[in-house]
Symmetry: C2
Amino acid sequence: MAGGREELKLLGTWTSPFVIRVKLALSFKDLSYENVEEEDLYHNKSELLLKSNPVHKKVPVLVHNGKLVCESQLIVQYINEAFSTDGPSLLPAEPYQRAVARFWAAYIDDKLFASAFQVGRAKTEEKAEALKQAFAAVETLEAAFKECSKGKPFFGGDSVGYLDIVLGPIVPLAYVGEARFGIKLFDGTRSPLLEAWVERFAMMDAAKAVLPEVDKLIEYSKAKQARAAAVAAAARN
Amino acid sequence: MAGGREELKLLGTWTSPFVIRVKLALSFKDLSYENVEEEDLYHNKSELLLKSNPVHKKVPVLVHNGKLVCESQLIVQYINEAFSTDGPSLLPAEPYQRAVARFWAAYIDDKLFASAFQVGRAKTEEKAEALKQAFAAVETLEAAFKECSKGKPFFGGDSVGYLDIVLGPIVPLAYVGEARFGIKLFDGTRSPLLEAWVERFAMMDAAKAVLPEVDKLIEYSKAKQARAAAVAAAARN
């Protein structure tokens, strides 16, 4: 646990996978922080957020003793470096293994998260293509898991590492996708290792402490869809 | 200079800014390497490239004692970590300063390079918008330079650092843009500090050793345009 003089504040929203990623890093590093929830990220960003991330105007932002760190992957790397003596080291010590971890972390955002979001947003005809891309990304990540974990339970080996935390926010999203739309992102045929990893990760105390409840996410997702439908209907009239 | 037992090979093309970025890192770290030029990246990628970067199939790839590292920013970070005792340290030692450097490095690719490429590729009506975005990115980076350099000559302070190398490939491109299209990306009004930085960076021996000659780039750019025009004319007939 960080000493009493360390002040950590996280600006975010409880549903953002990128905010959840930072919460996972803080939780696995056993660091306490103040959570500052953005009330309305879509229509009315707070002054604090606009001032804290003037370049991208996005959550998450980590405020550490007044210093502002943006972009979720960079925040996780920062937490790992700034709190190197707190909790486990998330990135491997060996330069090549670090490069491999950073490579797959970029892949997770650029290919898997990007296409998974597209599945949610796209119109019917584009949805199928986005889903195909998401499944292809899962297959590639299945091979990456094999390469990185070397038969052990996590990307990080025996314990949770950088890639487990970067991919971690997919866990509740995968459960929501299955419950709401019958889409099983990770299954025993396409990705048996990642299917087992999802279950394993979801059961860890440090993950359970910060991952949002699936039921609440489902409720949120239904309400968002209903709002979007109402807006679309109003636009037609 | 790396010891005789270190084998470094770089797969790339001489015109790729991302390859030039890696060459800059190797040059400033005073590391010797074998340059392997892709003959025809657009129509006929080599077996070696496809095998070396099966995920993205892109240059640059650094091969270090048989280990493959992809993605130019990750390669530069890898070079800095794997050859920590060769030449200057490119990234700051302090975690917060490292996070700041990585933040602006991502910005350079996502905003400046992306819109600068778009200026080259886009149709007339979209060109103006892309140029506007490139100029906006330059203005933001002017402020970043002020923040990072603290009145010293480089992003890295007294000596060239990570951001100087990440932005470095823009230097010959900026000269080409001015000579061919009269576009001055960095000028005394919008970005006096970066305008001076471009001149300063271009004069450094380690940069001159690897930056492609502007005249050759202009020739290449003209030939490419002529080929594209011929293809377009053939398609019309």
